[in-house]
Symmetry: C2
Subunit: 478 residues, 2 copies
């Protein structure tokens, strides 16, 4: 067994210096993802074809070299950071998209950008709903690896619900295909869905076949303000109780709204500054949306402090701008953020709102919260100043308390980001020792040399103890 450096030299001799890059520029660029925790790898591999990947994996297994698969690196959890060094396999150039307009399927390679897939589908009347906020940057490979979600989850589901087949490599280096480009498949253990959400620890995905759905012919957007967060939550529950399933149901608490209002200088509802809001979008057949609109307007009149429908696409876009402003504006409240994408069952929304109020009081931190109320996936942003030790300790205590509460309420510690490094301290709140043991047994079975994305998920990494890079990424919210 060679050292990583010797193995890297051997790999470079085999594939050439254009495919296997060891220069600082390449290594630094592949050292971190959106978690901004840098761990430079020994080399970055830009495979030209499947044979290159097979060669990398053969050598990596022989010499136990860690392998981290990378797309655009938008992961917020550190799941794409090569924490144990080794080789990064960069698939960003593997970006082919082919829409099968007849079957309603997209055949894509791992590096394809999610927004490009959506646009290619929409051009021929099909719709790919999952839409993480980084969709103009992130790749489908990363979305599958982390089971990414987005605003459409409540009605349409998440990435997992749209993956029909996967092609790629086992950690041991064999090329495999899971599933078929068909809507039914019940033949053998389902390793397709085991790969989805396994964060690059059980396989390397090179291609996917995605299911598409007919593009909704009509959309309609409404913004509504509420007196308090619990009132907004109660209103959402009342809407869903009428069996209305909006395509999007976004929530911003008063702190998020205040951030957005300060950033834009505009009060969202004149005379009602700083109120929690809901942004609701209906989508479907034109007649269906017309019908549902009446129900939603009657609901808003009864439940909301104020509401405003978009008259056209441009007005709808203006409403959405509010939603996008809040996240970046939060850095007025602190220069560091623990961004947690927890999930809470709908019946516990109000209980969770009360918990957050208590957490704010006790931690003395700003904790603006927004998210997707169709599926209970809330983004809780614990803001603090990294130079103030008391705030750092308070943030650490707050995130621990948050995770304990979420699990106690029957929810999930992550809805769409995954575990990576950032959530590793909380995995055992969600999963019992037997569950973790079973996951680790599966890991050992498929990756006996432990080379795929080591150091993640099962090993505890306390992100708040590690300095983050002071770097602005293209997808960081303005």
């Amino acid at each position: 067994m060679k050292t990583f450096r010797e193995a890297t030299k051997q790999l470079q001799e085999r594939l050439g210096a254009k495919v296997v890059r060891v220069d600082p520029a390449a290594r630094d660029a592949a050292a971190f993802d959106s978690s901004k925790l840098p761990f430079p790898p020994e080399a970055v591999v830009f495979p030209r074809n499947e044979a290159d990947i097979a060669a990398v994996l053969a050598l990596a297994n022989e010499h136990r070299v860690p392998i981290t698969t990378r797309g655009r690196g938008t992961s917020l959890t550190g799941s794409a950071a090569p924490v144990r060094g080794g080789w990064v396999i960069d698939l960003l150039a593997w970006n082919r998209i082919r829409i099968d307009a007849e079957a309603g399927m997209a055949h894509v390679r791992a590096g394809a950008k999610v927004a490009d897939i959506q646009r290619a589908a929409e051009a021929v009347g099909w719709f790919y709903p999952p839409d993480p906020s980084s969709k103009e940057y992130c790749t489908i490979g990363g979305n599958i690896a982390c089971n990414a979600g987005g605003m459409h989850g409540g009605k349409y589901g998440v990435t997992r619900d749209f993956v029909l087949a996967l092609k790629g490599f086992l950690p041991t280096g064999e090329s495999v295909t899971w599933g078929t480009p068909t809507k039914k498949f019940s033949a053998g253990f389902n390793l397709r869905d085991l790969w989805i959400g396994s964060e690059g620890m059980l396989g390397l995905i090179t291609e996917a076949t995605l299911k598409l759905i007919p593009l909704p012919a009509a959309r309609w957007t409404l913004l509504a303000a509420f007196k308090t967060e619990p009132e907004a939550f109660r209103a959402v529950r009342a809407l869903f109780a009428q069996r209305v399933q909006p395509a999007i149901c976004e929530f911003l608490d008063r702190y998020s709204v205040q951030c957005a209002e300060r950033a834009t200088g505009v009060t969202i509802f004149a005379g009602q500054p700083g109120r929690p809001v809901l942004l609701i979008e209906l989508a479907g057949a034109a007649s269906e949306v017309r019908e549902l609109k009446k129900t939603v307007l009657a609901w808003a009149a009864a439940q909301a402090l104020a509401h405003r429908a978009a008259k056209n696409r441009a007005e709808a876009e203006a409403l959405w701008a509010v939603r996008r402003k809040c996240s970046g504006a939060m850095f007025e409240l602190g220069d560091a953020k623990l961004n947690e994408d927890i999930v809470v069952p709908m019946r516990n929304y109000e209980k969770f709102a009360r918990f957050l109020d208590k957490l704010r009081r006790e931690s003395k931190l700003a904790i603006p919260t927004f998210g997707h109320l169709g599926d209970g996936n809330l983004h809780v942003n614990i803001m603090y100043h990294k130079a103030v030790p008391a705030e750092c300790r308070a943030a650490e205590a707050a995130v621990q308390k948050l995770m304990e509460t979420v699990v106690a309420l029957g929810g999930a510690i992550s809805g769409e980001h995954g575990i990576g490094l950032a959530k590793s301290p909380f995995l055992r709140l969600q999963h019992s020792p037997a569950q973790v043991k079973a996951m680790q047994a599966v890991k050992r079975a498929l990756d006996p040399n432990g080379i795929f994305n080591p150091g993640k998920m099962f090993e505890i990494f306390e992100v708040w103890k590690h300095p983050r890079m002071d770097v602005k990424l293209p997808w960081d919210h303005k």
Copy 2:
């Protein structure tokens, strides 16, 4: 390590003779499923609670006793038959159903009947779409274990698409929970979906949380006849090309129609006997269905030889009666049936129709075919007479050729029945050696003693060489 008989005695001493039954009546009833291949177990366990299951699994692991979990036993593949003997755990009495009307979820125990879940959901305005034809008998535990499908797969998806969380036991005996009762979950390896479709080989499911969708307010049914099967297939493709997604799109070839017409004495379309037909059902908001209806009627006028819409629910039911008649009536064409639930991608429908014609000519067997064209899941019924050796050989050759063709066309050897015993000879057509090896590695990782449903999936069992019981089951088609 004791013999099975000694271990059984020990188990009975521990849990009592009411829980652990060894009488011939209990053992005979648990010896077979709908594949009608009997293998009597040593004992049948009717657990009262989770502690009973834990006790059974502890002893089974100690003495390497095979465990077969059983619901109603409607599996067509032998997946619920205790082929290696041992203990059957019968969960039919574990049938509690609780609908969370607010969240749109069903909390069910494994023995709950699928049709009961549907009715309980519909009573409060929710819909659980998966609907295997045995839904008035089969249990949700079995549906999850085999990833059951049904007629609604094309538009709504299959069982997998509706499972949010599972509770149960690992083969090693630990109690575990996978997923949460929420619509998003991305926290740890996804063993929930690994369990789904694993046919009782990777875990024992005791409870599930199912996602429900709003009950469609309106339904509309159309029956259309076509000159030939390829014309029916082309018409379906033309319909889907208009982005129309029927809730149901059932196909019956001329042979299935002839069976139904002979059985009922009624010609479906006067003057056009024995024509292939499509049964289409639209579902959705009232206005949406009204809108789509126009498109579908125009399509039928242009594409079909004849068509007829149902005026009301009773007429729609009369149309559905045709569909249900065909399956049982096939036994006029032979006293034995190889019922294969293959899947073919839509673009290859016509190619597959030509293949089936060739297969009929070459095998000299009747092969009536019907199925779900929304997802390409066709039921190919190879009929033969078990006393005629030439027909037996022809059937065996035909099923082999069918499976090879399906895989060559990019399809699946099973869409909704699973592998069990019946499809085991074909698993390696679908999956490469590396894929099978990976599945077996996962099996060993989770079931090191190999006690959960042994002898299935990976070991080759040629059903056509084994005599089937001459027994009529309640869910056999009349």
